[in-house]
Symmetry: C2
Subunit: 594 residues, 2 copies
């Protein structure tokens, strides 16, 4: 069975030392998150995930979910029990609003726990994950009554939630939604239509499932401006607020998928189900986007979380597997061959993955802090800046971290050679599970369009200008830090390349919008490299400060960061060159000539 | 169900127009391969593969192979019948020696047919594919009697063959083989041991299976120099040469794999089985390498063959799926949205894949011609040159084409969005099947080491010097061809970068062998880019010559080639930069610090 050890040390390094979150005790909830509390939480979570959630990963893959003839869905053996323990331990509501029973602790702690869940059982993690998304949408856009009605049980985990967007004829283009909502005299709506790919749409782990459904009220404007959002509970609540009558919503089938077999991906049929409007009519997309932005942070996390566990297993294999001798002389003379970690090309695959994973983790935890600042910073200007960063970087987190995370997961499989292809070693599952993260919550191509089409232009370019200015300032402030030169030079170069790309976009995308689309993927990759380079500088600086002879952690961190600069940052060169070729060639080929 | 149309036009373009194979009619067998014969063959093969082999791909994935309690293996429904038709149609012995019943036609024709088989059913194609490998080893190293005994039935396909190398403790490092061969008084050997991952090791499609087995004769020298090769038939032949007594070899189990479920990947147990020595004692690796080199050509082909069918399906989807409007204005006003092929980022994924596939096909067909020249060219110097090229480029074909083919297959899946992740659309199978090609017949890392460790140094660097000189000459000869400038400039640049990398290797790899290993992956990628750039120049030149207003094929080829220069060649920049950072950083991290 695959191994997993939660990277608690690295999490502590980021939370305590790099981000120095103790400096934010003025933010609501942060004072409670003392280093001791955080460490205890991480240790507890590590134990639980390693011992309870991780062993169910293979079970989920093999058993999958089963839909019974009555439309009910059985989750894999052990999932329900593990989910109950997960909720009892408070792992599902760490940063949720205390007003509804949440713990109100900082998001980066919740994110650290979510990373563990996602690494050791992505399919399992999606049940509370989707639920948290639905929670946020109701929290952000629901009425007080709706919040009081639904949030406490969703916070405790007794009820879960789902997001119902996709229909057979529309995924990316939600303006094409056909599901209907008919207003009733009592203020409710009758919802009809079919939704597909609804993760955790039906299961046996909770007493109720709160579906959030996008539908079109009769007579609504065409397209995206005529979409409304509804709460459609599986069981309509009785007068006491308990699950009562079964609503007219049912699971019509489960998808057979490449991976995440342990999660029920449902076709959901709405046959005049009772729904309750969230917010205003025709303004459903707004609340949906609140949910989606945090979900995209979670999906980006899934990318490196998969890469993390895949890496851990590849590393264990590389230390254990004896094959051939080192080209620079025998390293394990008492053995019939050397462990394959002596071979440079094996190290290349391991370090490509390690340097990415650690950078990605830092980037996501940094983003989780920004997300908190965007809501809770006392100063309006600080809130605005953090909000700008999140708007700008959410598509980068989602797409860059899943794109590279999938590469890392594949590289880790490659370290296993033929064993990587055999299901018994578990590497295949990591790759198969990880593959979806490049697609759901908006394909990576859509993220890239969001970045170049919306985020770059927004507020006259303020988002990226502020972010780049912060990086410039950081480079200036730290230019005399001994030992940091290499990392800063890397950052300066890649930031310059991304700046050059941004200027190219300004000059060419307006002239022909197809140039923006043609450049979007490479542009997002450049942005991802810049973001990781920035956090690698932060990590290197901290490591330089804390370096000691007695603890090799910091020296090793510096080596990994150096590897990032030498071996990952040069990818920027190619992205910049490709991007600047524009869209003319690709648009000149007639569709029938492909 | 996925679609597949054999790319006959592109195959004809390469065979007739680009490689101008009609000019080689002085080679044995080539005179019979007139353009008419080739075209008829390709058309027949296309029909057969589209109608018979392709529909079984999904069947093979879903059913897999089943091992019965008696150790026999049932292949998926329809495989046996399709295999019989495949053999009857003569698709398995196109380029085999007529002395043993083969058709003696040129290898590029066999390769074109193999591409079709591999595209539409990789798991099925491995049965005749492995058989052809075993055939070649016997043909190259067996005694006349062995050839007369085994080759005719293997040529007809009545018997199949396998290659037994891997054991639990050794894959890459065959020096660790433990399987034993005990000499018997009658000149035969008793073979004992366990082999794993034996493709097509046991099945129900043929009357006999001729296993080629690497084993160690008692008292043999340690390591790779003590390995011998044996023929171990499943049924020992009776006095008439027909399958008689069952030999002591059996399938102990089937691997559960990520993909190629239709192929039986067997644990093979040898319990004192009767074996016949091929060639000399302890010289087994030599014959095995003959087999492996051609097998590696076949695996490289699998890489782009998977990418080809994945591309075809992504293209069909991109033309059909309506989602969002083009950013430069509505393209399909009569429809609720535009087909997604209007979006530049979708075109990017399609063209990345298309430009690679067409370049890869040209490279492999060119190599198949070189392989023929290496055996059949009248002039010794021409034979030597072609042989040098095959030695040099075999690892590039294997590793570069599978590495990029897997990317292409994944990009094609990505075009499908969520549907790509659902098994019913078939894209998942293409990715899962393709994954193994980066691993078997020597992992891609081993190919890279073969290139930098053996092939570069061989004969004082003659292989690469001759190849680069040919490219220089080509550039010089064609410098005045109007319209070819862009393609030649691309070639000149990437060849220069690969040359620079070669010089770096010369200066640094000798000083520290770890530098060679650290650079090997990026070096091989550079080589692959150069090789594809070269064949893209050839294709562009031909397209310029044949361009006409009435047939857009050539103009479209030029656009795709331009895309290759603009959007794929820039990858060389990053590979060169990475490579030149050497191995110091990656080797400086202690194993326990990973």
């Amino acid at each position: 069975m695959p191994v997993y050890t939660a990277p608690v040390r690295d999490m502590q390094f980021l939370i305590h030392d790099v981000l120095q979150t103790q400096n934010y005790s003025n933010l609501p909830g942060f004072a409670d998150a003392t280093p001791d509390v955080i460490d205890a939480f991480l240790e507890e979570s590590a134990k639980f995930h390693q011992n309870v959630v991780h062993p169910l990963n293979v079970v989920g893959d093999k058993e999958g979910c089963i839909r019974n003839d009555d439309g009910s869905v059985k989750t894999p053996t052990g999932f329900k029990d593990a989910y109950n323990q997960f909720c009892e331990n408070g792992f599902g509501n760490i940063s949720m609003d205390p007003e509804y029973g949440g713990q109100g602790l900082p998001l980066y702690l919740a994110i650290a726990v979510t990373e563990m869940t996602s690494s050791c059982n992505q399919a399992f993690g999606m049940y509370p994950g989707l639920s948290a998304g639905a929670w946020r949408a109701i929290h952000a856009a629901g009425s007080d009554e709706q919040k009081q009605t639904y949030l406490p049980k969703m916070t405790s985990g007794e009820w879960t939630g789902t997001m119902n967007l996709t229909e057979p004829q529309c995924g990316t283009d939600l303006g094409l939604i056909r599901s209907k909502a008919e207003p009733q005299s009592d203020g409710t709506y009758k919802i009809s239509g079919q939704k597909i790919w609804i993760s955790a749409g039906e299961h046996d782990m909770a007493d109720n499932i709160i579906h959030l459904v996008l539908a079109r009220i009769e007579g609504a404007p065409e397209g995206i401006k005529g979409i409304s959002l509804f709460i459609v509970p599986k069981f309509i609540l009785d007068a006491d607020g308990n699950p009562g009558e079964r609503n007219a919503v049912s699971c019509g089938g489960l998808e057979e998928k490449m991976g995440i077999h342990g999660n029920a991906t449902c076709v959901m049929n709405y046959d005049g189900a009772t729904g309750y409007l969230i917010g205003e009519e025709h303004k459903g997309m707004r609340a949906m986007f609140i949910m989606m932005n945090e979900a995209r942070l979670g999906v980006g996390l899934q990318g490196y979380a998969a890469s993390e566990i895949a890496y851990q297993n590849a590393l264990a294999f590389a230390k254990d597997r004896l094959q051939s001798r080192s080209v620079t002389g025998v390293k394990a003379p008492d053995k019939p061959a050397d462990p394959i970690i002596v071979h440079p090309d094996v190290r290349r695959m391991l370090l490509d993955t390690k340097a990415f994973n650690e950078g990605a983790r830092a980037f996501v935890y940094w983003a989780a802090l920004q997300e908190e600042l965007s809501h809770k910073a006392p100063d309006e200007k600080d809130r605005q800046k953090a909000d700008d960063y999140m708007a700008l970087l959410t598509p980068v987190i989602k797409a860059y971290l899943t794109h590279k995370g999938y590469q890392g997961t594949n590289d880790a499989l490659q370290v296993f050679g033929g064993s990587g292809f055999c299901e018994e070693w578990g590497m295949s599952q990591f790759v198969r599970d990880c593959r979806i993260s490049l697609i759901y919550e908006g394909t990576n191509g859509i993220q890239a369009l969001d970045l170049v089409g919306r985020k770059l232009m927004a507020e006259g370019g303020r988002y990226w200008q502020t972010y780049f200015a912060e990086i410039d300032q950081y480079i200036e402030d730290n230019k005399n830090v001994e030992g940091l030169e290499l990392y800063l030079e890397g950052l300066k170069k890649v930031k310059g390349q991304t700046m050059e790309a941004t200027q190219w976009m300004g000059a060419n995308a307006m002239a022909n919008f197809d140039n923006a689309g043609a450049a979007s993927h490479d542009y997002l990759q450049l942005f991802g490299l810049t973001a990781l380079s920035y956090v690698w500088c932060m990590m290197a600086k901290t490591a330089l400060e804390k370096k000691s002879d007695s603890d090799p952690f910091y020296e090793n961190k510096l080596i990994t960061g150096k590897y990032f600069v030498e071996r990952i940052l040069p990818e920027a060169d190619t992205h910049l060159t490709k991007l600047k070729t524009g869209g003319d060639t690709m648009m000149s080929l007639p569709a029938e000539a492909f």
